[in-house]
């Protein structure tokens, strides 16, 4: 009996201290602990992926590192995927303080978590083997691959329906690599997701694949942040704007999307700036 009592008290104590330790908003915690945890994909080239030296790199990685540097805190990356990137900032306490994982800022998502200003502008397209598909119309009736956990499936299905395919066959693979493998081996005739990811995939075998059709959706990327933490959101927004202002943003951008890279993607928009 005594054992039980002690155990119960210990458990109660643990729960109490745990609650106390993690109380307070993200801003206080990051500034207090001097550590920022960033959720980043490790399968989404060129945003976050493992390179040939088994190093974890990418555009999102560099952005997150730069943000951490400017905040003057230690940087700690955490692997997220399409299915976990929302829930990781949603839990209490959040598993990560910010998510940079090529995530489109959508209204449904904004109901659950907060977003920074748009830090990257993308749109959804289709990728197919060169010469196989001429325009969007040809996609009707074809097997299409996409990714589970994104709205790409929903968008692609809607687009195929619009093109006259009454029963669109869209398979949701686990991630970019599997999706591309499906296209490469011929089990689907086209794949669809955000165009930068498609460009990066096509670059693995240059000259064999091409983007087809128009943009079927706008995909403005935002940094996912825990809900209702104004101070934290402000400082992230300011940091991103500062990076744009002094040119660091374009430096990072050109490192991954410049004309000489594997994934050239010209910058056509401007980050929202507040005077």
């Amino acid at each position: 009996m005594k054992f039980l009592k002690v155990g119960a008290m210990a458990a109660a104590f643990c729960i109490a201290t745990a609650t106390m330790a993690f109380a307070g908003p993200t801003y206080d915690r990051v500034m207090g602990d001097k550590v920022v945890k960033a959720g980043i994909s490790n399968k989404g080239k060129p945003f976050g992926f493992i390179d040939a030296n088994n190093e974890w790199v990418g555009f999102d990685m560099d952005m997150a590192k730069e943000i951490a540097k400017r905040l003057g805190v230690k940087f700690e990356p955490v692997v997220v995927n399409n299915k976990t990137r929302i829930s990781f900032v949603q839990t209490n306490p959040p598993k990560v303080d910010m998510v940079l994982s090529n995530m489109t800022h959508k209204r449904v998502r904004d109901e659950k978590i907060d977003f920074s200003i748009t830090y990257f502008f993308d749109g959804q397209k289709f990728l197919a083997k060169k010469g196989a598909i001429a325009s969007g119309k040809d996609l009707a009736g074809k097997k299409v691959g996409s990714m589970q956990g994104t709205t790409s499936i929903v968008n692609a299905k809607a687009y195929l329906k619009k093109m006259g395919d009454s029963n669109p066959k869209v398979t949701g693979y686990q991630n970019e690599v599997e999706m591309f493998e499906a296209l490469r081996s011929g089990r689907v005739q086209a794949i669809s997701t955000d165009s930068t990811l498609l460009i990066a995939l096509a670059a693995k075998e240059p000259g064999k694949y091409e983007l087809v059709g128009e943009f079927i959706s706008d995909e403005p990327y935002g940094i996912g942040l825990p809900q209702d933490d104004s101070a934290w959101r402000d400082i992230i927004n300011f940091t991103v704007q500062d990076m744009w202002k002094d040119g660091t943003y374009m430096e990072i951008y050109n490192k991954w999307f410049g004309p000489d890279t594997e994934t050239p993607f010209p910058m056509t928009e401007k980050i929202e700036m507040w005077p």
Partner: protein, 591 residues
């Protein structure tokens, strides 16, 4: 005084109600979830379509995969189970290799192999033909069927071998032919041994179908994840999937119980109600098998006495016997040729491997980045095979403790202890490991307000999962000890815990050892599921390397299959030795 009241049923029920009330009170009033429950996503139209519909589609696919693969597994399992009893060595060797290989590698790795590596090795036209079908679905079904068949083969072999040799000799000497004794003596007895474990294989098969999500089949697990991704109602989606799996398990378990009731040998006095239900349910099957049996009887021929035949008839008989022998010989030659072909193809394939790739990555597969990992990685960047072994060792050691406590509690006469233990066991065993991993990874941290990284989440999930299975092993071990021993211990004045510690557990644990080693093998194989949440164990390591290289799926997946196989096979050899040591009677019945 305390003891006296604890023995009363109403006190036990009251305690149970109290526990339930406390839990309800805690989560209803004290605890704050920080989460807005929105169950309506499951039954209303959302922006991205009807989520309930999506889950139902998932259910449909789960049921189809389970059914198709179960039929396939039963067919292949019977074939290879009988082949394992063959006297013809090449057949025996082939069947043994098949069974051992597929039993001792994880299903996930097999699925990856079929899905990624196999198409790369096929001719272009065949590949295109396959892709026009529902390729992912059939890969999952075939992979699952083959995996389950290797377990069924072992069950069927063991069931047939469990028939005592004396019975077979007795039936031969009473003049029955081989076919007759097979139909009348061996199969009826063997079936009683085979059916119960075979049934639980069907249950496992259904639960394993959840792995089909990794190749992109939209079954229940996949759908639940998609619902979460689209609506962010992860808790609701996962709860719905759990309920679906539990109901499916319950339906299968009920059916199995009916089958067991039908098979039980009962006396004339008092037929239990479940037997009556079972009799009604299985009436058509029994009738059909009776009809078939009659048919066989009419078709059957009495054994021929060669001494009383006319010369013509004797010559005819000789021709028939000889031509039959020729057919058998031809079949044997064909089979050997087929086997040689397979072995040749395998060696050719192995010879054409790019061993440089394997050699370059073997370090990563064994230990990943150890000891150069970043500060955020567990165990200094350890991963690969060593990570899998560590996970299995930690989770099995911890789940042994859980299993011991819960298993002993499950056999308790006190309802206040027995019911919670039963609840835990059945809840966990009714769900696939993937679901348990999801619960632990996504929902345990917010409920307990703790932080768990992927490694510890996966290890904890496996601990909870295997705890339930080990509890059942412990219960089985305890119930095997004759009741007289307990009575003798109590009457010599030992208390409950003394009896358990000094008399029951030492004997029961010894009997349980082989089963526990088997559980360890299962745990080691199931570490591959940690891939789903991104733990850097062997499968994830192979997967990441394959992603980067893209051109050598055969090399990478074969290498890790060999790693898994070596570890599991050595352990299963050890388990078999233990078993032999603990039960000396083991006669191999030949067919």
């Amino acid at each position: 005084m305390f003891k006296h009241y604890m023995n009363k049923t109403w006190v036990q029920n009251l305690l149970l109600a109290l526990m339930l009330g406390l839990i309800a009170y805690y989560f209803g009033f004290v605890f704050h979830f920080d989460y807005e429950f929105n169950w309506s996503v499951l039954y209303t139209e959302t922006e991205y379509g009807h989520m309930g519909q999506m889950l139902l589609n998932g259910l449909n696919l789960t049921v189809s995969i389970s059914l198709y693969s179960a039929v396939l597994a039963l067919g292949l399992g019977t074939l290879f189970g009988l082949a394992r009893l063959s006297n013809f060595k090449p057949v025996y060797a082939f069947a043994t290799a098949y069974v051992e290989f597929f039993r001792n590698t994880p299903l996930l790795v097999q699925l990856f192999f079929w899905n990624f590596a196999l198409p790369a090795g096929l001719p272009e036209e065949v590949k295109m033909k396959l892709f026009e079908l529902d390729f992912e679905f059939w890969v999952a079904t075939l992979g699952l069927g083959i995996y389950t068949s290797s377990f069924m083969a072992e069950i069927i072999r063991a069931g047939i071998q469990s028939v005592p040799k004396g019975l077979l000799e007795a039936s031969y000497s009473s003049g029955l032919t081989f076919n007759q004794s097979l139909r009348k003596i061996i199969l009826p007895l063997a079936f009683r041994e085979i059916i119960p474990p075979l049934g639980s294989e069907f249950l496992n098969n259904m639960k394993n179908s959840s792995l089909a999500m990794t190749v992109g089949v939209a079954e229940v697990c996949w759908s639940a994840q998609e619902v979460e991704a689209l609506t962010y109602s992860g808790f609701e989606a996962t709860a719905a999937a759990t309920v679906i799996y539990l109901s499916l398990s319950l339906i299968i378990a009920t059916f199995l119980n009916l089958v067991n009731a039908r098979l039980k040998i009962i006396g004339n006095d008092g037929v239990p109600i479940i037997r009556r239900i079972a009799d009604v349910v299985f009436f058509p099957f029994v009738k059909i098998s009776q009809l078939l049996s009659d048919l066989f009887w009419h078709l059957g021929r009495a054994p021929v006495d060669t001494r009383t035949l006319s010369p013509g008839a004797a010559a005819w008989l000789k021709i028939r016997t000889n031509s039959w022998a020729a057919i058998v010989l031809a079949a044997k030659v064909l089979f050997v040729a087929f086997l040689v072909g397979i072995v040749y193809q395998t060696f050719k394939g192995l010879a054409s491997f790019n061993y440089q790739v394997i050699w370059d990555n073997i370090r990563a597969l064994l230990i990943w980045r150890f000891p150069h990992g970043g500060s955020t990685e567990v165990f200094m960047g350890l991963g690969g095979l060593s990570m899998s072994i560590i996970m299995a060792v930690i989770s099995i050691s911890l789940s042994f403790l859980i299993g011991l406590v819960v298993g002993v509690g499950r056999t308790s006469e006190n309802r206040a202890i027995k019911v919670p233990c039963m609840f835990y066991i059945e809840l966990i065993r009714g769900n696939p490991l993937i679901m348990v991993i999801f619960w632990v990874y996504f929902f345990l941290p917010p409920i307990l307000k703790i932080q768990l990284d992927v490694f510890w989440s996966a290890t904890l999930a496996m601990t909870i999962f295997f705890g339930a299975y080990i509890a059942e092993i412990v219960r089985g071990g305890i119930e095997n000890i004759p009741k007289g021993q307990v009575e003798a211990a109590i009457s010599t004045g030992l208390g409950y815990f003394q009896t358990m510690r000094k008399i029951i557990l030492p004997q029961a644990l010894k009997q349980m050892l082989p089963a526990l080693v088997g559980m360890f093998i299962a745990a080691f194989k199931d570490t591959s599921l940690a891939y789903i949440i991104g733990v850097m164990e062997l499968t994830t390591a192979a997967y990441s390397i394959n992603n980067r290289l893209m051109l050598y799926p055969f090399e990478i997946y074969t290498t890790i299959a060999v790693f898994y196989f070596i570890c599991c096979y050595l352990m299963s050899l050890y388990a078999r030795r233990l078993e032999r040591k603990l039960s000396p009677e083991n006669v191999r019945l030949a067919m």
